[in-house]
Amino acid sequence: MTAPITPPLVRMQSLHKSYGPAMQVLKGLDIEMQPGERLVVIGPSGGGKSTLLRVMMGLEKIDRGSITFGGKPYISSDGLDKKTNIDTEVRRSIGMVFQHYTLFPHLNVVENLILAPCKVRKERKSDATERAVGLLTRFGLAAKAKAYPAQLSGGQKQRVAIARALMLDPKLMLFDEVTSALDPELVAEVEQVILQLAAQKMPMMIVTHDMWFAKNIASRVIFCAGGVVVEDGPPEQVLGSPKEERTRDFIDRVFHIRQ
């Protein structure tokens, strides 16, 4: 394989993270992500998938390791003191959507969308509102612009949450089990929106339990278990004919296949 000409979009080196001595969640993760890749992370609960995304967003401290974004280091810890250094400017290029929507309940949909652009980027309210309405229209939510989160269905809330993250023009999107809390009939509308982003070449990293969705959206799949990367490859390989025993067990179980 020839070396890529452009630097990797994300490079994680030796990420270590534990909750106390007995709970090591990340045991030295090394992952590189190329521009344009759509990386799906699968694996058993407690395997460190969500922690990985939270670490990338700077929501969790790390014990050791570093992450660069577009060649720029933005999260690092040398393991000596308990400090995790985070470059917030670089981190602002990353958007994240959570399992439980985390919309601001006291603000209506448009206000949710324009808060960060107006307060962080000092964008004019009228400009931000115009962009917000544009995004909502694209996601089929134009009629809900003035609604409060409590008046929306789970699927609508999650689409608003995605739109809110996109308002900051992220260069990478992180999706942390964004359909896990949804009623089954609402899953598709959220996945459609993410597929729409994928079609526009938005780089993304997705943690999901939905193997159908993983197969449809991934350009590469990583199987994470016990705090390490067990298998890493194209979706046909990892989801279709995994090389590793542990991956095969997991895939068999989630697809309910008994041979």
Binding site: F98, T102, L115, A116, K119, V120, A150
Partner: protein
Amino acid sequence: MALDFSIILRFQDALLLGLWMTLKLTLICVILGCTLGFLVGLARTSRSVMLRTISGVYVDFFRGTPVLIQLFWIFFCLPLILGIELSNLASGVIALTLYMGAITSETFRASLKSVGPEQLDACIALGLPRRIQVTNVILPQAVLRAIPTLLSNCVSLFKESALVSAVGMADLMFVGQNISNNTAQPVEVLTIVALIYFIIAFPLTRAVSLIERRILAKLAI
């Protein structure tokens, strides 16, 4: 025994004056007490150990002692310490404000805590600076959640304010007691006074449950 409620007509001006004093005192103490309670609530959730300790001792003291004793203490001891005579109203305002501040600080503290950690996650993921996280996300939600309990606190204060009659302030209770002593008709007079308190407090308590339902419906995520 024949009850004669017509005496209310003879004393209605006095009763209205007393009611006016009660309402004035309550209103002033609601405004000052809620402000104090808000600041103390913030202090109790702050990172500074000193702020947390001082505010904690204050709240525990005022929640753990009878309001009547607090009133007496402010009326009789504060002038000795400060060396100045305080008017009845000033002493009443200080005492009930300190009491209201302690009670509402707990309300604010609970509502601040009720804003979940996932809201902070969302703030960080959106790159919101700390100041914006507090002023635009945490505080508005906390204050909204606090409103029903704060209204209950206000109704309590309105009723508790009757205690200032014990130190000679001419509020509704004081006027009622005086009339009752002079006319020797305690049953009628005190019943009427109770009714006046009820007529004002009852709509407020109903409003509390109405507002509570509205706010909870709006904030349900």
